[in-house]
Symmetry: C2
Subunit: 369 residues, 2 copies
Amino acid sequence: MASYCCRLLNFKTSHNPSSLPLSLKLTVRSFSAFMSPPSTAIVYYQEGPPDSVTKMVKLPPVEIKENEVCVKMLAAPINPSDINRIQGVYPVKPQMPAVGGYEGVGEVHSLGSAVKGLSPGDLVIPCPPSFGTWQTYVVKGQSVWHKIDKGTPVEYAATVFINPLSALKMLEDFVDLNQGDAIVQNGATSMVGQCIIQLAQTRGIRSINIIRDRAGSDEAKEKLKNLGADEVYTESQLEVKNVKSLLANIPEPALGFNCIGGNAASLVMKFLRQGGTMVTYGGMSKKPITVSTSSFIFKELSLRGFYLQNFMTPSGAEECKSAIDYLLGLMREGKVTYDMEFAPFENFHAALDKSLGKLGSQFKQVIKF
Amino acid sequence: MASYCCRLLNFKTSHNPSSLPLSLKLTVRSFSAFMSPPSTAIVYYQEGPPDSVTKMVKLPPVEIKENEVCVKMLAAPINPSDINRIQGVYPVKPQMPAVGGYEGVGEVHSLGSAVKGLSPGDLVIPCPPSFGTWQTYVVKGQSVWHKIDKGTPVEYAATVFINPLSALKMLEDFVDLNQGDAIVQNGATSMVGQCIIQLAQTRGIRSINIIRDRAGSDEAKEKLKNLGADEVYTESQLEVKNVKSLLANIPEPALGFNCIGGNAASLVMKFLRQGGTMVTYGGMSKKPITVSTSSFIFKELSLRGFYLQNFMTPSGAEECKSAIDYLLGLMREGKVTYDMEFAPFENFHAALDKSLGKLGSQFKQVIKF
């Protein structure tokens, strides 16, 4: 973080690194043994619409201090949370100007003199993630970087943290589930949704999945079933008096996940068993969650929220790293998969437009540097 | 329960005990050493509007088995839950015909031969409560009855279970509170609300209280402050951008209680601190609870429900008894008080009308037999 601020500070004084005075360029070069390469980055100077406030700019080299590692980024996704952060709707705000992106993967380029346990060429991810992965070279303290198995496909390494780890934590941290138990979720086609289906299946947990009514919903159903979903319903299929009557051999779920709100959240609650828990981790419909008094008193539902940020404490770092290694193992074995589309970094803004939904529903965009 | 069904079974065969054939009356009398006195009871034959489906009827004597105790009832309240049960809106339904009432106090009248630890004249309450306290004599197994200190005012003994115990359990079972912490509640003038204020005060816990806007709200505020409330606001006073700015020296509450729903529930959530818990135990406005996604994700609120019935398991009976003794002790010391109005049993239906709100807001009605 310190080096990153430092880079932005340099940057701020000139506002266009290519116009740096020659004397400064020479100063930079004279320390080149301890400096990173220049970096190309997606920078925003103020919060606002991501497609207009972000610019691709060249940042000058920064010093690599003795405990720091310079990583050449290989891939980084465009997540909805990255977009929300640029829009300014997230409570945690980076200092302006800021480099976008929050998770990603890279290989070690060069090391400060005091760094141990890492070598050039090692595959690393920031763990927990931190601001500024949308750039070609990132310099951060050694403790930020987690070395991972080189056999991991970069697109999975780049995307393991925000969505798959959320799915894993939500399955593990709220209700003790046993083999044969069931969960219910809306937004099942989302990346978290797909991970929940597959992680549940590895544990022998059944999944009841709710998706939107839309063109192609039959295909979406088929696809989720191929991932291991036990039941998939569109919202309109659940316009019945008792949704539970649809379940044949699946037990009433004790745990539900909501990333939509509105009616889709009510449907999750309808499936839940007495004393069940619904965990909200998103609100894609922008509608609130409405709950009857009797759901709390007689059905004894618990409503909770999940925000991955809260697990990104220094004390939780070791637990996160072992969870990440577990997920990457499943990914290497092909037991957790999801759709992604690579986008070359130079086409960043085209990928951003896709992520903003301008071209309709699209696969997760993963920037390849 | 067995004896009670038996009484109703006798009763069902004649439908008017005063018209019992003489031979049956003689049969009853010939076993009088093991029989209860006849009982006058508030009976309903079907669910519906309480003022039209309930009748005061005379029930014939029932046998007192060797493990049973016949209790002469002294007092029993009319609780909203009694009314809801007659209306049929509660999930737990007694068998029809049923005697109304659920909690109360009486003195031991006569005992089965195998009963130990109780003597005629002892003050007892059904603990946990069970159906049928609105009658002059109740016969139930010994395990139902909990002997209490004879110095306890009968109106408090009669009402200790449903409301004060709910207040105590809700304060103790959801969040670990320490001296100096705070709670927030709506419906603060309710009996549970008044108990929460006083129980919080005995533990050094501050209370923030929300009441309806109505004629007399200044008096209500004054009264709650005299009970120990730290802050009392009407809903309209909380139409400000940031309700927490109203709190001077009171910390943000970690625990809130909702018995209203709608806007009054939203106000409780607004006061709660990051990670706080709101417990719903009623829905007086008949409006649902509406929650934003960000309340779950960024504010990490937990929403739970409380239903006293769930603590009335055989395994929880001993814990309940010690909690009841603790509450009755506070009541004898005058540390937990609330308003009640005695109504003679013969005027039951006038008291019921008051409880149904036909005459506006009234004190809790306690039937005196």
